[in-house]
Structure formats: structure tokens, C-alpha cells
């Protein structure tokens, strides 16, 4: 289940207009959705934010992977709903918080599914992030599928030794994950040491001003998307500040004896 979540963030090199887009407007879209979903708690707006992404995801031919990432996030989403509802929030508010989480997952799933780690690195460089930092970040993104695959192998190996992950109560189940986590962490540390040695032997960081072979260039469609996104973002901020929105029934909540 948790591995499905990774699948929904892994770049797939498809040939679609969304994949071909310059990574900067894509990052702008994801960040704008992020900002708007943080600004609004109104459930209708959050629902619109989620649904508005569907055409883009459809254009990127990534519906299946995108739904995988939502399904992968379902456990956490359920937890968010339960925690909110149990601590005295209304039903609608708890649902909005859950929806906000799904909107975030969805937006970044769309971004990572359609942006190669290389493009991401170029964007970060353009944002004048130090190369060591942007390299660390893109490497982490790039390694996610490798680590996910490794986690699956470890799960298989331990199940072959009679480990049953889904038995017992919640504490017991967490305890049963120790034989998965330790090999995973040990191998991650081992891999990072090896990576560091390989990088140093290839003169990583030897020159100050690094130039890149590929330079990003925006087409007119990219400009169009970027400007449209900024306008939508500004309208959103305007509405949030000055226009009251209708809301759903806010009164359903758990009786106060529960809280």
C-alpha cells in the first residue's frame, strides 16, 4: 500500500503536452495549488482545486498512477479525518482538512509524474539554490523508486522467514516492521557512502561556476500557462480576502462528551 504512494510520484517518460512543458510553469502550478489549498478551508473551493487538476492529469495520461498516489495517501487521509473529527472539529471541517491533504498529494504527484529529475535539478539551479543542495534534492527524488523496490525485496525476504506483517494489534504491527526498517536504513546508509565516494572520485564540487549542457527555454504556451496560473492565484487571493463564500452546514460534530 505504501509502495503505491511512491509509484504515484515517480517520473514516467511519456510523450504528452504536460510532459513536454517547461518545468517552471509546472512548478508554478503545483505551488499555486499548494498556496490556494492552504489559504482556503472552504470545502467547495478545495473540491474545485482537486477536480480542476483532472484535465491536466488526463492530458498527461497519468490517471492510473495519479489514483495510485491518492490510494497510497488514503491511510494518512483517513487518519487526518479521524483526528480532526475526534478532537471536536465539525464533520465538514474534518472533511475539508482531508481534502486539503489529497489536493496537496495530487498536485505534487502531477508535478513529479511529469517532470524528470534532471528538469527539476535545472529549475532548482535557476532558483539559485547551491548546487550541492539541489543535487541532494534531485538525488533523493531519483532514489525513491530504487528504495521502494528495495523495500519490496526486504518485505519479501522477511515474509519468507515467516514474518507476518498484518497480525496483532497496532503496537504489535509496528513492532513487526522493525525487521523491514533496519535493513532498509542500513542499506540506505551504505548506498549514500558509496555514492559520496563515487561522486568525489568524479571531482564533484571541484569548480565554483558549474555550467549545464541543457538550458531551459520557455515556449509561448509555457508563458501562457504561467500567466494564467498567476491570474488564477491572484483571483484566489482576492476572493479569500474580500469575498465571503457560501459554506456547507457547519454544525455536525461529535457530542461534547466525547471531546
Amino acid at each position: 500500500m505504501s509502495l503505491k504512494l511512491f509509484e504515484g510520484f515517480r517520473f514516467t517518460g511519456k510523450r504528452t503536452p504536460i510532459h513536454r512543458m517547461d518545468p517552471r510553469p509546472k512548478l508554478l502550478i503545483a505551488s499555486s495549488i499548494f498556496l490556494l489549498s492552504i489559504l482556503f478551508t472552504n470545502i467547495i473551493v478545495l473540491l474545485i482545486l482537486l477536480i480542476a487538476q483532472l484535465p491536466l492529469i488526463y492530458l498527461a495520461k497519468s490517471l492510473r498512477r495519479w489514483s495510485n498516489s491518492l490510494r497510497g495517501g488514503a491511510v494518512l487521509a483517513t487518519l487526518i479525518f479521524i483526528m480532526n473529527f475526534l478532537t471536536g472539529s465539525t464533520l465538514v471541517f474534518s472533511l475539508s482538512m482531508t481534502l486539503r491533504f489529497l489536493v496537496l498529494i495530487s498536485a505534487f504527484s502531477l508535478f513529479f509524474l511529469t517532470t524528470s529529475p534532471d528538469d527539476l535539478g535545472l529549475v532548482l539551479e535557476r532558483l539559485h539554490l547551491p548546487y550541492t543542495l539541489s543535487f541532494t534534492f534531485t538525488t533523493a527524488v531519483r532514489l525513491v523508486p530504487t528504495v521502494a523496490l528495495e523495500a519490496q525485496t526486504i518485505v519479501d525476504a522477511q515474509r519468507s522467514r515467516g514474518l507476518e506483517l498484518d497480525r496483532g494489534n497496532i503496537i504489535e504491527r509496528l513492532r513487526r516492521h522493525i525487521p523491514i526498517l533496519i535493513p532498509l536504513i542500513v542499506s540506505a546508509i551504505r548506498r549514500s557512502t558509496e555514492l559520496a565516494e563515487a561522486l568525489e572520485s568524479r571531482a564533484f564540487g571541484s569548480c565554483e561556476n558549474r555550467e549545464s549542457l541543457i538550458t531551459l527555454s520557455m515556449k509561448w504556451t509555457d508563458y501562457f500557462v504561467a500567466i494564467a496560473t498567476i491570474i488564477i492565484l491572484l483571483v484566489g487571493i482576492f476572493v479569500r480576502l474580500w469575498i465571503p463564500l457560501p459554506s456547507l452546514d457547519e454544525s455536525i460534530r461529535l457530542p461534547s462528551i466525547w471531546v
Binding site: 528495495e150 525485496t153 526486504i154 519479501d156 525476504a157 522477511q158 515474509r159 519468507s160 522467514r161 515467516g162 514474518l163 507476518e164 522493525i178 525487521p179 533496519i182 535493513p183 542500513v186 542499506s187 551504505r190
Partner: protein, 276 residues
């Protein structure tokens, strides 16, 4: 008995295994060989139910893997993974090896006896209280092997047992595997180490692109140069030597060093006696 009937397996829309039919009888010694990505590891993961067939079925002693849990199947089929680092996690080698026994719920006294026995057998006794992470690659591999053998499964499946082992360790491993087999256990090894297979003399199942390419005794399969190359393997060196001497009347199906030696010896002696 392990029966694979009309097994198809697809992952992410790609067909990884295509109509596999195998019957492995108790006490047989099998080597599954083939190129990288041929589907060897995918196939053996069906033997203890880690993967379930997309179509067809796998029966372990008559029980379909669809109807049993991995935990119950792994008591019958011990699967040793290729990389020991994918399973070592305990503080000591003893605890590591005892892990599966504890999962199966054996009493502590039995566990102690079995673990000590298997550590002794695999030359690991002196490391019982050492952290498995402090051991060398070959030793870690033996700990992983011990952690499966400890519960005494009837069928043992080894994924690439020779990788990362030095020559001496390989020799020991061979003796150990052959010994397990003569004790009546079914042994299945997955490997592309042709020389190792020649020394072990198992029945060979040749896998290529998810299908069975050929099945037969090791010398029958490995001396068929064309077949071996189609499975992206290199024929064993003695086989290459003998087949290059084919015109002089040597038998290209000779793969064993000692057989080759006596064939050459005989020829040399007869030549000597002719010239005399």
C-alpha cells in the same frame, strides 16, 4: 512435490512468465538458469506464495499457493534471497538465525538446539554472539542461508548462491548443497554460474524471456552450445575445449574435468603406443 501448471504472471501489464509447466519431485536437484530478466527470480517467488499466478497454479505438496499464507508455505519451502543485506537486522547472529523459528512459534529450547546445530554446520559457531553487520560478505551470505535452513524446510530454493563467494567458499557451498540434497531435500538453485552447475550436476531448466527454453540433465543442456547461447549463457570451459576438439574425435558432451582428462590421456597414450 512442487507442481507448476500453466503459470502466467504479469506485472504492470508486462508478461514476465509465459505458460510455465514444471514438476519438481521430492529430493530432486534442479538448477534454473537463464539470462538476466528471464524471470528466474519471479518464478521462484511463486514457490512460497510471495507472488500469486496471474493465470494457472502452483501446488506445493498438493496445496495451491493461492490458498495458503506465505508464512505457512515458507515452512515447507525455504527461500534464500540473493542479497543477505536485504534481511539481516538482529543484534547477534544467533538472534538472526533464530528469527524464523520464533515466527513459527517453536519452544525456546528447540530453537537453541536447532540454531546451534545449524551454526555448527555452516562454520558460524564462533560468530554466534557477533553482530551480523560485522561479518564479511561471504559470512553474511551463510548467515542468511542458516536463517532459512534452521527450520528444516523440505524444499530449499537458493537465489544466486555463488555471487560474492570466493573460490574456496564456493567449493564448501557446493559440498553443502550436494549434502543437503543427498539427505533427501529438494534443492533448487537459481544461477548463471555454468561452472558451478557442472560441478553440482543437477537437472537444468533453461528459462529465456519468461518461457522454458529447455529442460534436461546438466550435460545434455550445457553441451548444446546453440541452446546455451540462446539463453545468453557461455558454455562451460571444458565443454568449449572438448567441442573445439570434436574433429579429433572427442565427445563435446564431456563437461567434467576428470572425464575430459581421462579422454585426453587415453588419446595421448594411444598416440604414444602407435609411434613406438
Amino acid at each position: 512435490m512442487i507442481e507448476v501448471k500453466g503459470l502466467y504472471f504479469s506485472y504492470d501489464g508486462n508478461e514476465v512468465l509465459h505458460n510455465i509447466n514444471i514438476t519438481i519431485h521430492d529430493g530432486e536437484f534442479i538448477a534454473i538458469m537463464g539470462e538476466n530478466g528471464a524471470g528466474k527470480t519471479t518464478l521462484i517467488k511463486h514457490f512460497n506464495g510471495l507472488l500469486k499466478p496471474s493465470k494457472g497454479e502452483v501446488l506445493i505438496d498438493g496445496v495451491s499457493t493461492r490458498e495458503a499464507t506465505v508464512a505457512s508455505l515458507s515452512r515447507k519451502v525455504g527461500l534464500v534471497f540473493q542479497n543477505p543485506d536485504h534481511q539481516l537486522f538482529s543484534e547477534t547472529v544467533f538472534q538472526e538465525v533464530a528469527f524464523s523459528m520464533r515466527n513459527y512459534g517453536y519452544p525456546e529450547e528447540t530453537i537453541r538446539r536447532r540454531v546451534n546445530f545449524i551454526l555448527e554446520t555452516l562454520d558460524l559457531r564462533s560468530y554466534a554472539e557477533t553482530s551480523p553487520f560485522m561479518l564479511s560478505g561471504g559470512e553474511r551470505k551463510r548467515v542468511a542461508l542458516a536463517s532459512i535452513l534452521v527450520s528444516d524446510p523440505k524444499h530449499i530454493v537458493l537465489d544466486e548462491p555463488t555471487i560474492g563467494q570466493d573460490h574456496q567458499q564456493k567449493e564448501k557451498l557446493k559440498n553443502f548443497i550436494v549434502q543437503m540434497n543427498t539427505q533427501g531435500r529438494t534443492v533448487i538453485i537459481v544461477t548463471h554460474d555454468v561452472e558451478f552447475v557442472v560441478e553440482c550436476r543437477p537437472k537444468v531448466i533453461l528459462l529465456s524471456k519468461g518461457s522454458i527454453l529447455a529442460e534436461g540433465s546438466y550435460d545434455e543442456i550445457l553441451s548444446d552450445e546453440d541452446l546455451v547461447r540462446r539463453a545468453s549463457l557461455v558454455p562451460p570451459q571444458i565443454g568449449l575445449l572438448m567441442s573445439s576438439l570434436r574433429d579429433l574425435g572427442f565427445n563435446p558432451a564431456t563437461l567434467d574435468v576428470y572425464q575430459a582428462k581421462s579422454a585426453i590421456e587415453k588419446r595421448l597414450l594411444s598416440n604414444v603406443s602407435k609411434t613406438l
